[in-house]
Amino acid sequence: MNRLRIFRKMFLANLKEFFRDRSSLFWMIAFPLIFTFIFGLVFSGGDQATFTIGIATEGSTPVTEGLIEEFREVPTFNVTTGELEGELEELKSGNRRMVLDIPTITAEDVRNRVTSKVKFYYSKGEGETNRALISAIKEIFSGIERGITGTRPLFQLEASPLETRNLTQFDYVMPGILAMALMQLGLFGVFQFMSLRENKVIRGLAVTPLPRETLFESEVALRMLVALIQTFLIVVVGRLVFGVELVGNLFLLAGLVFLGAATFVSMGYMLASFTRSLEGGRNLIQTVQFPMMFLSGIFFPIEMMPNYIRPVVRAIPLTYLGDALRQVMVGFPPKYSLQTNVLILAGWLIFSTILAIRFWKWE
């Protein structure tokens, strides 16, 4: 009863301290929102990849016109036609992805089954995309060939994507921003505690009947409240401004947000217990926070990183929080199972709590 009253007062005091401090408001609330807007605007063009393909024909015949038509029907291709030389110039200046040079093909040639040579030009580099494009083009040609010759295909591929929603790059990044916000809440949030410790406010409280656990509990409760505010703001901006729909269960999301916040809050206290001074703590925390932000794959897929960095990626908790939030918020295909994510986060939570207690410094 008494304890609850003290907790409430202490919580309110922390709350006021937080909301009156511009720098904590910036890092915890404004910064994630700015990120949301920046990424939202950058990726708002939609990411349906299209490739501009130039097609040059020597002479127009019904057959070549038909070929061009076939290409035009492929949604990924943006087809232009023109003289070979002009199209090659465009390729060189980067305005075409590939140029096809189609000779004159008459109906007679088709009937006599004359092999016509189609050349295509592309710029070196970007190997994988080119390989994919080349095989797509080959596939289109063999489709046309089957149509003309009337051979029935031995295999028919039926693509049936399970995910009906069209996931954009922003869908990938938005849960990452929330993960980043929760990390900053935990790691930067502990600056407040460290500054109270350094300025001997904690020592001043130690001579009063305030139970020390209450001081700690009220700080953690405040962080959890801020975590919910961050989640709410990011989700609302994502939905209203950039049209990102939440697919997951809200309770599951809240659970993950609490777990993630708790993990990083306890990591923050752990790092704070490794140092005495505010300055030392700040340096240590920034050293941990910065690489984690970029190596966790919250902004771009882990596959884009070189192999030797993967073990680091797999060790840091933000990787798993990002993956779990992507699954639960926007239904992104999982990299790890939700269970794995939760277990590893919980493991970090327990590990850092133990170390925080072991090296704890009130003063």
């Binding site: 003290i6 007062k9 202490m10 301290e17 009156r20 300025n199 001997k200 406010v201 020592r203």
Partner: protein
């Protein structure tokens, strides 16, 4: 015989609110407090007087359980801080030196927060009134002046409504008026039956406020008693002071030979000469003669009883602020 029994009986009923026996606190190679014993009676203002670094703060922080001790026994309100600290804290108010608080809470919010920690706190406005902080009620702590912050720290100890109030150098850094005001507050506390444990390095403060004081130096208690007793016991002489009319080395030597003077000192900064004497009338006579001989005029003459400053000088051979 009967009477003395009756008196000691009354003394027995007088509760000792704090008892410290053989307290030692050693840091690696520094003996911050080296075997001190004292007791504080209920309702008195107990003072611990000494220069900076004498061990006053260490003593206070050990008694309230903020730091561990190397050796010794402590009892506060009949309880042992080792295992009943929680109960002790509810019944005492503490003002620490160099107070720090939540920077962005207002004075009122800070007082309310601290009030919530205690079972029967003083009203927030009353606590603020006592240290004259009412007009800064809505100011955030980070915008307070040093003196205001200091007064807030004192108010926070008062808001506990505790049976003992610990004040560690409560008037350091206050302007003279604020100091006087705080003295009144402290005197009022005693009138309300509260025990006050006060440390200070101001002699006048100890003299003005304390019924009972100990002088501590280099971790040891070197004298104890009421201010009057201490002066009487250690310094029965009177101080004869006058303005230095510009005496050079020669006159100084001659002055020193006045045979009724116990000793004399030149206060260069204030331009004064102080002669201590147990036989004031004779010394004054000698002094008048001396001035007649030199042809200088004797100005601003005063005769006063010794102060605790003089006592400290006598006991340690140093002024209290020489540290």
């Amino acid at each position: 015989m009967l009477i003395s029994v009756a008196i000691s009986g009354t003394g027995g009923r007088m509760n000792k609110t704090i008892e410290v026996k053989g307290l030692r606190k050693y840091y690696e190679d520094v003996k911050a407090v080296d075997g001190i014993s004292f007791s504080v009676d209920e309702g008195e203002i107990f003072g611990m007087l000494g220069p900076n670094g004498a061990g006053k703060t260490t003593t206070i922080e050990t008694v309230i359980g903020l730091i561990d001790r190397t050796d010794g026994e402590i009892s506060v309100l009949g309880m042992n801080p080792d295992n009943e600290l929680g109960s002790i804290k509810k019944r005492i108010g503490v003002q620490l030196q160099s107070p720090s608080l939540f920077p962005r809470l207002t004075v009122k919010e800070t007082l309310e927060l601290f009030a919530s920690f205690y079972p029967e706190p003083l009203s927030v406005s009353e606590a603020a009134d006592q240290v004259d902080l009412k007009e800064s009620f809505r100011t955030q702590v980070e915008s307070l002046s040093g003196g205001q912050r200091h007064r807030l720290a004192v108010a926070l100890s008062l808001v506990s409504n505790g049976e003992i109030i610990f004040l560690d150098e409560p008037t350091t850094g206050l302007d003279p008026k604020a100091r006087r005001d705080l003295w009144t507050t402290i005197t009022n506390l005693r009138a309300g039956g509260v025990t006050v444990f006060l440390t200070t390095h101001y002699m006048d403060e100890a003299e003005e406020l304390c019924n009972h004081l100990v002088i501590i130096d280099r971790g040891e208690i070197i004298a104890r008693g009421s201010p009057g007793e201490l002066i009487e016991q250690h310094f029965p002489r009177r101080a004869i002071e006058f303005a230095n009319p510009g005496f050079g080395e020669r006159e100084r030597l001659q002055l020193a030979r006045i045979n009724t003077a116990n000793n004399l000192s030149f206060d260069e900064e204030e331009g004064r000469i102080i002669i201590y004497s147990e036989t004031v009338a004779e010394t004054l006579n000698d002094l008048f003669e001396f001035f007649q001989d030199t042809g200088k005029s004797l100005e601003n003459l005063s005769v006063r009883t010794a102060t605790l400053d003089d006592v400290f000088l006598e006991l340690t051979g140093r002024g209290i602020k020489d540290e």
